[in-house]
């Protein structure tokens, strides 16, 4: 039985992971913004076999609220074996280009709020000297592209942060996982026209995440073929890259 903290628990990928853990009889502490969605998710996980489910309402960009959330999680579970940070939003790039406030809000939502949570929770896991910290970044963080570089920049910050945090935590027995999903059919991507062959489901991605945590992987692309796609995209020389529009 593991004790698991999930931030962004009503997101499709987080929910799919939570169902796998509930099925295994793990204990869950769910954090999300919307009380109703949180309650419906919690009911579902209890029925699917979770040992216990506690929910906590919090906006992840409200940094001041993080400490209280951790305190509640520790009261409920005493220790944390797995942290999954899954909240995020896919902004409209055009809006971000026109409006600095929108751009910074998206950076806060996808980047700084995650870094704030990782900082706080890393210290808790460091004290425990055990556990896994997993954060969902994105393949979009691998290279800035004109179509979504604000989102990409925020996710790149999370990935780089994880890369540095990992060796620090390794020495105290804590595992850090950077999860880079490709295109997944979720509410976040609803309404976008996506190349069908490249789109995965939240359930498939969740399986890979749960396995990645079990196997203490450093970085995973979900599904794995995105590793190859991003390798190709990263190796496009600047002279060509700056002429592309994708």
């Amino acid at each position: 039985m593991k004790r698991i903290l999930i931030v962004g628990a009503s997101s499709a990928i987080a929910m799919a992971c939570a169902r796998i853990w509930a099925n295994q009889g793990d204990e869950l502490f769910l954090v999300a913004r919307d009380v109703e969605k949180l309650d419906q998710t919690a009911e579902d996980l209890r029925a699917r076999g979770a040992k216990a489910v506690t929910s906590h309402c919090m906006d992840a960009t409200d940094i001041a609220a993080h400490a209280l959330m951790l305190e509640k999680a520790l009261t409920a579970m005493r220790q944390i074996d797995i942290v999954l940070i899954a909240h995020g939003s896919l902004p409209c790039q055009k809006d971000c280009e026109q409006n600095v406030e929108v751009a910074l809000r998206e950076i806060a939502n996808n980047g700084t709020s995650v870094i704030a949570l990782l900082t706080l929770l890393a210290n808790q896991l460091e004290e425990q000297r055990c556990g896994s910290l997993a954060a969902i970044s994105s393949v979009a963080g691998d290279r800035g592209r004109p179509s979504n570089y604000v989102y990409g920049a925020a996710k790149a910050a999370v990935s780089t942060f994880c890369e540095g945090l990992r060796p620090r935590m390794y020495k105290v027995g804590v595992h850090v996982l950077d999860i880079k999903p490709g295109l997944v059919a979720t509410p976040m991507t609803q309404g976008l026209t996506l190349p069908k062959a490249l789109v995965s489901t939240p359930e498939k991605v969740a399986k890979l995440i749960v396995r990645g945590i079990e196997n203490k992987r450093a970085t995973i692309y979900t599904p794995g073929f995105w590793g190859i796609i991003m390798l190709i995209i990263r190796s496009i020389p600047q002279t060509l890259f700056k002429r592309l529009n994708f």
Partner: protein, 436 residues
């Protein structure tokens, strides 16, 4: 998202899916689609065969993501779940706790919403009736009022109209169902060959009431002395053994072939092989519930083997008194046409009345066959319809893509009550076809 088709992929009218992800959003989603497209229809997991799950506007409200369990009571075997939850998902949590679906159709990929809308039945219809007989209550979202809770006592008219109501009375967002207790998850089954229809009727009369489940396969291509031969199968939940959720690896049909792989050659070979696979003496075995109830679920997308044109299922039920004669005639007609089905299924339906107004089963015998879609089906189906009409039987809307409006209205006189309670913004291709 990919456009959706019905299970038979005929008629081929791709549906645009509008996903509803939270039950509180059902009303907003409904109104959104109606605002842009005029009308819609709730869509579950697309297991209806014909056009009853296709919206006349081709814009469906996709409820598959409403798949949360809301409450479980293992003391009394009751589950409250969202409408998009599949029957297989219910089994995966109920079996370890010693409960099974009171009624299950031949696929576990149907959703609870779909099971209600078609008032599905299973191999134990002779004992337990339809899915609707075990439905305690559900939430119904209509476009112009807050969510209604419907049961036998509360909003009883909507309760009756929605069971078998083909998704037209509103969107079922959640439901509470009564499960039945089991001691173990295995099925103890006995298969007996029969040489002709008369033998089937004798076997069925003798054994049905002694067993929870009963069904028969008929070789629909056999003619002359072999006509009406088949295999009669009864089963019961085992008393001893583990309570295990079956997790067989699922196989996929990787692509849709340009033409049907089901043709006269493959059908004949299959039917002969199936007959000879069973020995001439009754054979008893204990197997998993999965292979007993859901043999075809092993092949995800098995409907693809019928090729791009798709297929139609012909399922009718014939009242007891004339069942033997009429089914004999139906089988003769089909065998003579040379078109036929991998598995022609015979099943005796019991007397228990469903609370639903438009429920398909009636006391008698039901026959179901799958046919690859081709032009020659039309005259054959007309002939079969004549026989069914004369026998006072009826066809199953969940499987149908052809029945005439007059046949439907004659066989389901309660249709006008459904029409009166229909949410005016919900309209299927089937309903439009048979009521106008």
């Amino acid at each position: 998202m990919d456009p959706l088709l019905s299970w038979g992929r005929y008629p081929r009218v791709p549906q645009i899916a509008h996903a509803c992800r939270w039950r509180g959003q059902a009303l907003d989603s409904l109104q959104d689609i109606v605002h842009f497209h005029g009308s819609t229809l709730p869509f579950g997991n697309g297991r209806s065969y014909g056009d009853s799950c296709l919206a006349s506007s081709n814009q469906v409200l996709d409820l598959r993501l409403l798949d949360r369990i809301i409450h479980v009571d293992w003391q009394h075997g009751r589950v409250v779940a969202e409408a998009g939850t599949t029957l297989g998902e219910i089994l995966s949590i109920s079996i370890p706790n010693g409960w099974f679906l009171s009624v299950t159709p031949g696929t576990q990929f149907a959703t609870i919403g779909g099971a209600i809308a078609n008032d599905v039945h299973g191999k134990n219809h002779h004992l337990r009736g339809t899915f609707g007989n075990h439905l305690l209550r559900f939430g119904l979202q209509r476009h112009d009022q807050p969510m209604l809770c419907c049961s036998r006592t509360e909003n009883a008219d909507y309760f009756a109209a929605t069971i078998g109501g083909l998704g037209l009375t509103g969107v079922v967002t959640w439901a509470e169902i009564q499960l039945m207790p089991i001691q173990a998850s295995g099925i103890d089954s006995t298969a007996t060959r029969f040489g002709n229809l008369a033998e089937f009727f004798t076997l069925s009369a003798e054994h049905d009431h002694k067993h929870e489940y009963s069904v028969a396969w008929v070789d629909c291509l056999a003619t002359a002395r072999q006509a009406g031969r088949g295999v009669f199968i009864v089963g019961d939940h085992t008393k001893y053994g583990p309570l295990e959720v079956d997790r067989r690896t699922k196989l996929r049909v990787p692509a849709t072939p340009p033409f049907s792989l089901v043709n006269n050659w493959s059908l004949r070979a299959f039917n002969v092989a199936y007959w000879h696979k069973h020995s001439d003496r009754p054979r008893n075995q204990i197997g998993s519930y999965d292979s007993f109830f859901y043999p075809l679920d092993r092949f995800v997308n098995w409907n693809r083997v019928y090729g791009r044109k798709g297929f139609q299922q012909y399922q009718c039920v014939i009242p007891s008194g004339v069942a033997e004669v009429a089914i004999q005639e139906l089988l003769a007609r089909i065998a003579a046409s040379g078109q036929g089905s991998f598995l022609a299924v015979l099943k005796r339906c019991g007397n228990s009345a469903s609370p639903g107004l438009l429920s398909f089963p009636l006391p008698g015998v039901s026959l179901a066959l799958d046919f690859p879609q081709k032009h020659a089906l039309h005259p054959l189906f007309e002939r079969l319809d004549d026989i069914v009409r004369e026998a006072g039987g009826r066809l199953y809307p969940a499987k149908d893509a052809h029945m005439s409006g007059s046949d439907f209205r004659r066989a389901y006189p309660a249709w006008e009550r459904i029409e009166a309670l229909r949410d005016p913004i919900l309209m299927s291709r089937f309903w439009k076809r048979v009521t106008t």
